[in-house]
């Protein structure tokens, strides 16, 4: 149980965070032969509302599939930050978008404010791919899977014609995380 690493992607329905979780789980389970379980939780709405996607990665079999002691959390809305931060460990790492999250009154763990939206806007030209940037940040910060594995898993799920766009997005994430590490 102790080698469980718990990831939580929290945001709003439609931001693609469930997909980000699936790609991370796929990279760990298929390309690195670890155990991985991905779950999600959302309300009855098709868009909007708080949603979260969780990934547990472990070398041992994973029984309880949900996160209870979160090691890494990335949040892309204020609502989800406030709602889902309570399970973050004291030693946990929280990555919040610098523009989208501004109220840190119930913050836990080590908080990093990262310019994910700004980078998407400036370097990708739109917010599509914000989920992949967030995924890149988490992978680089946690070192849970290699760049190669996550890129393979990413390419498997990306629609034709969007390979380069997504490759660029994940690399933005890697770079942003490297900048954090220097802090």
């Amino acid at each position: 149980m102790s080698d469980r690493t718990e990831f939580r992607f929290a945001g709003s329905g439609g931001q693609g965070l469930i997909l980000a979780g699936i790609i991370l789980a796929d990279a760990a389970a298929i390309y690195e032969n670890k155990n991985a379980v991905q779950t999600q939780s959302y309300g009855p709405e098709a868009r909007g509302g708080s949603s979260k996607s969780e990934v547990i990665i472990s070398d041992s079999p994973i029984e309880y599939p949900k996160a209870t002691m979160v090691d890494y959390m990335v949040t892309l809305t204020q609502e989800s930050f406030t709602k889902y931060i309570k399970d973050v460990k004291d030693s946990g790492i929280v990555i919040a978008d610098k523009e989208l999250v501004t109220d840190f009154s119930n913050a836990r763990g080590k908080l990093y404010l990262v310019d994910m939206v700004k980078s998407a806007r400036e370097e990708l030209g739109k917010l599509l791919g914000l989920n992949i940037i967030a995924l890149g940040v988490l992978v680089e910060l946690s070192g849970i899977v290699s760049h190669e594995s996550i890129e393979q898993a990413l390419m498997k799920r990306v629609p034709k014609g969007f390979e380069d766009y997504n490759k660029k997005a994940i690399e933005i994430g890697f770079r942003l995380a490297k900048e954090i590490k220097k802090q």
Binding site: M1, A25, D26, A29, I30, T39, Y42, E63, P65
Partner: protein
């Protein structure tokens, strides 16, 4: 990599298992949290020459499935709570007419529309008693994505073998979570196919209540003509009110399942050998239970688990045997107490405790561990 390993959702694994089992026909009406089963089969089945039908509601969906099955198809539908309530009349019809079919219920919170996106285990008794009249049913509760695939194949086999509806009760957690699945080669697994009767049409009776053998269901259109009715019927299929026919028909509906229980039962025991506390848990709750048992054992409390995989017919014999040596039993369920009554019925002098959490979240290992600690002090 020799093995074909994929990361997939529980619902996807059910669809995959159905295709491997030779599912010819799916009819359904989408409902959260089961919709992925329909969605995936709507793409897969037509590509291999099989049929996918979206019907106007859940009642019609099971009606279409039963029609297809009478035509010799291996047929499937998938739904959740509200849809399961609607299907009850046709489940009775399938039992009465002995029409094989597989029904997936990805359980969500209820009653009524309840909690569409959140898990529960509130439909276990409905699976057994939901439709009126005495009948036996087979229901299976997988606890992982991998098991969802293999148990779907087994469900099709049991449906054909015993000419009965077989229910798979998963829940929102198992249905929506993704984990590794080992996709089997068809050559490595047993598949029971629909076969023609061994007698010519003029000698065929669609039912047999006394031989102990399940009569093959002759597919409509193969020259075998017979009557199908939800009225109590004799071995020719025509209605009857003769007392001996009625009694034989009723006995048969129970006997064909209960007298073959050794073939139908399936369960797992985890650290029961030296256990002082026995957990009886199924589906996603068994995962939390296993983790709680490991926590308890590290703290010096000897706990173990009996996990029914076939939940109906209920594993009376095993619970009864275990309760002779383990005097404290805990039944954690995401409902207000259903399987606990079956356990109490079988417990030979053991104390049976429940842990009932119905708040839209899965029961956590911590909650179960706390209860184990509490019981260990009694």
């Amino acid at each position: 990599m020799a093995k074909n390993i994929k990361l997939m959702q529980g619902n996807e694994a059910i669809a995959e298992g159905a295709v491997i089992a030779g599912c010819d026909f799916f009819a359904g009406y989408p409902i959260t949290p089961s919709s992925e089963v329909a969605e995936i089969l709507s793409s897969k089945l037509p590509k291999i020459g099989k049929v996918f039908l979206q019907m106007e509601d859940e009642i019609a969906a099971l009606g279409a499935v039963l029609g297809a099955a009478l035509g010799g198809a291996k047929a499937l539908t998938a739904t959740s709570g509200p849809g399961m309530s609607l299907k009850q009349e046709h489940i009775g019809y399938a039992s009465m007419c002995e029409i094989p079919c597989v029904i997936i219920n990805v359980m969500r919170g209820g009653p009524s529309t309840g909690l569409p996106t959140l898990p529960a285990q509130g439909d276990v008794m409905q699976a057994k008693w939901g439709t009126h009249g005495d009948h036996a049913i087979i229901a299976i509760t997988p606890s992982s994505v991998n098991e969802s695939l293999y148990e779907t194949i087994r469900a099709f086999n049991l449906a054909v073998k015993y000419r009965t509806p077989v229910l798979i009760l998963t829940d929102e957690i198992i249905g929506h979570m993704r984990e590794k699945v080992v996709i089997p080669d068809k050559s490595d697994i047993e598949i029971i196919d629909v076969k023609l009767p061994g007698v010519p049409p003029e000698k065929y009776n669609p039912y047999n209540y006394t031989s102990g053998e399940v009569t093959p269901l002759a597919p409509m259109g193969e020259g075998y003509r017979y009557h199908v009715t939800g009225l109590i019927h004799g071995e020719t299929g025509f209605p009857s009110q003769k007392t001996d026919v009625i009694q034989n028909a009723q006995n048969w509906l129970m006997d064909k399942i209960y007298k073959n229980i050794k073939d139908i039962e399936k369960f797992e025991e985890f650290q029961t050998e030296d256990a002082d506390i026995l957990l009886v848990a199924y589906g996603s709750t068994s995962r939390s239970s296993r983790q709680a048992i490991m926590m308890a054992r590290s703290a010096g409390i000897k706990a173990g688990m009996f996990r029914p995989i076939t939940i109906w017919p209920f594993p009376d014999e095993q619970i009864s045997a275990l309760s002779k040596k383990i005097k404290k039993i805990l039944v954690p369920e995401m409902n207000m107490g259903q399987v606990i009554f079956e356990v109490q019925r079988n417990a030979c002098g053991s104390s049976v405790y429940g842990l009932n959490v119905v708040n839209g979240e899965p029961i956590t290992p911590d909650q179960i561990y706390e209860k184990i600690k509490e019981i260990s002090k009694i």
